[in-house]
Amino acid sequence: MSAPMLMSERALRRDPRYWLARIHALPRPESGVLRIMNVCGGHERTITHAGLRQALPDYLHMIPGPGCPVCVCPEEDIHAAVALSLMDHVIVATFGDMVRVPCNAPKREPRSLQDAQARGGRVVPVASPADVLILARQNPEKKIVFFAAGFETTTAPIAALLSQPGLPDNLLLLLSARQTWPAIAHLLDSDEAGFDALIAPGHVATIMGADQWRFVAEKHALPTAVAGFTPELLLQAIHAVMAQAARNSPQLENCYPQCVTAEGNARAQCLMDAVFTIQDAPWRGIGVFAESGYACRPALAGHDARVHFPQVFNDAEARRGEMPAGCDCARVVLGRITPPQCRLYGRGCHPRNPVGPCMVSDEGACRIWWSSGAVTPTDRAMA
């Protein structure tokens, strides 16, 4: 008897309806609502595209937080990449999303890498660091600048690339990589965190370990669960934080043990540590977070675009903080407002003509909400 019962329990756990029923069976929180933040564009995509907000109890507020690396890439790095792409001997290689991210440039100047490309700039979209290596070997007479924004999940393969023996001399890195947790620490240390529970990012935790998020539960006493990316895995994590809230016993729960361990991927961490240091770093429109950015170690100076083109970065630095007029991406990223609460959302800013990065990237909350049908400010119930 027991074996088939176990099997059916396992099958049940793969059905979103099982978790929805268990969530609905939990008591409503005493405070009236429970605000659950996620920090991964992949989580936000699943929540929105699977319509979880409509299926979940209305006292759960699912808040997209800082989960889009493209969205937090500082504006000065985009200015620098645009300038580099227009130099004769340079090709800028970057992940597809970055090509369209706008910065605040005067009308006659290119405001994105796509604009630069139309004016003769050389920009090549790539899907992986391996593509950059091929590009560098195919174009020995050019400098290949790999403009890489990303969280730990993207940073690890870049570290692997840089660790390869025989790295071509013409391959340079413009690194805009960030750690994810400092943004959450920043929110939690502010007067109003804006959330009562956290869904921690499964991909980041695969690399860095679930324990990286322990501070949320132990220092700040907020229910925390690491989640996978399918609707049922997310619902399982949502159930976990709700149950913690109901018991009033915040802790770190790993709801994605299929991929995530407490310590993470030691080899990846070792590779990253060998080539990168951690330093204070600016986040687009938000400001500098302590110890939130990766930078090339001095031994890699020969491959560091920031060292190779100091003038370009000095010029770009002067434009830090210049944001497109009316763009509220920074507050969307921090979960302070929902996408439709931005004045530009669906009016001046949509995927055809994005004003800010959140409407460009597939990881951006605005793009995700828009592509799910919340197309105007009055549509907010849709997402």
């Binding site: 979103p16 309806r17 929805l20 564009g41 992949g42 995509r45 929105t48 595209h49 699977a50 319509g51 979880l52 907000r53 409509q54 299926a55 690396p69 493209v70 992940f95 597809g96 999303d97 090509v99 979209p125 899907a127 992986s128 391996a130 593509d131 924004a149 990303g150 969280f151 999940t153 993207t154 991909h203 990316f229 609707p231 995927p351 055809r352 990237s361 597939d362 990881e363 828009w370 592509s371 799910s372 049908g373 197309v375 849709m382 997402a383």
Partner: protein, 347 residues
């Protein structure tokens, strides 16, 4: 027998050169040993300026005429190549219009440097696809472009077919309450081509669905409740449904769990951030059928080898003008119009 074009003896002619488009002897040899060799028939083979065709038009039929441009990278992919794809694409445009295709014209744009062996293979596939559908390539033209000006080979292809007079098929026939049917899994072609590009370090056994849909369209043509058919190519299923919503002012309500999607297609999409509902198919049909005949249409499709996985995936509704998709646990979202070429996401 030594092929005079491939020229194994001298090795001169292993690649397309500008001379293959010069109008002279070398070009004539190319046409004879590649195009006429594979595609030859009583109307093409005289190589006259225009094909003189027998009138196969029955008195109670209308002519149906379509035209298509075909480019794909890479030229060869699991399940087909640009030659078979070109024929299937044009035949399918005629088929979903309710027509039986009869004749094709093929304009070929060759890039200097294209290996002749590849051209042979592409035109042989084209001929095989046409033969399988009882369609004849009756006229054509060949141009050679300098290296760098075209991705190996492009086709401009037109097709003529006939269909019964009085057949009323079109978006203006669609009514609220009609059923939405799809003839098989969506997104196979898009993902097969993506994998063939080997850009993402992914590989797999997935084949393109590139095929003629003529058996599918002919099977349901006699149903009085058949309103509309379309093959969801570029932009995929979601784009066809958008066009319907736009043309009719009606909405489409889809049931997510009913839409057939292969596990491998969904996995690649999950990894790269694509939505299979927006990926190209090259051998599927979307049909709008009166609800009372939906089961019959589905049975007719499922009886065919290419329609075994056909499903009823949704309903035409009067209460909105969107394409909405609802899953089995009550979540709902709008499928937006495709904005730009989907790019792989970065983490």
């Amino acid at each position: 027998m030594t092929n005079p074009v491939i020229g194994t003896a001298t090795g001169h002619d292993e690649f397309i050169t500008l001379a293959h488009g010069n109008g002279g002897r070398i070009m004539r040899r190319l046409i004879e040993t590649v195009f006429v060799r594979h595609l030859g028939n009583p109307w093409l083979s005289p190589l006259s300026d225009a094909a003189i065709l027998p009138n196969r038009l029955e008195s109670d039929h209308d002519l149906v005429f379509t035209s298509d441009g075909v480019t794909v990278q890479p030229l060869f992919f699991p399940g087909g190549n640009i030659g078979s794809l070109a024929v299937h694409g044009t035949i399918n445009d005629l088929a979903v219009s309710g027509a039986k295709p009869l004749y094709l014209s093929v304009n070929t744009f060759l890039e200097e440097g294209l290996p002749l062996a590849q051209l042979q293979q592409i035109i042989a596939s084209m001929a095989e696809a046409a033969r399988a559908c009882d369609v004849h390539v009756v006229t054509g033209d060949t141009k050679v472009l300098p290296r760098g000006l075209c991705g190996g080979i492009y086709f401009g292809i037109s097709g003529i077919g006939v269909r019964p007079r009085g057949l009323t098929l079109g978006s203006d026939q669609i009514q609220a309450g009609d059923a939405v049917l799809v003839s098989g899994p969506v997104g196979d072609h898009g993902i097969a081509v993506l994998l063939a590009r080997e850009q993402f370090g992914l590989s797999g056994t997935l084949e393109s669905d590139s095929a003629s849909v003529l058996p599918l369209t002919q099977a349901v043509l006699d149903l009085p409740g058949l309103r509309f058919m379309r093959d969801p190519t570029r932009g995929g299923l979601a784009t066809v449904l958008h066009e319907i919503a736009l043309a009719t002012g009606l909405g489409i309500q889809l049931m997510a769990e009913q839409i057939p999607i292969r596990g491998s297609v969904q996995s690649v999409c999950d990894m790269l951030g694509y939505d299979p509902l927006y990926l190209a198919c090259e051998g599927r049909v979307v049909a709008i059928v009166a609800a009372r005949e939906a089961d019959e249409a589905l049975r007719l499709w499922q009886d065919l080898p290419q329609g075994r996985e056909a499903r009823r995936i949704g309903t035409v509704v009067p209460d909105h003008r969107r394409v909405l998709i609802k899953n089995e646990w009550g979540g709902e979202r709008t499928l937006q119009e495709l904005e730009d070429d989907p790019l792989p996401r970065i983490c």
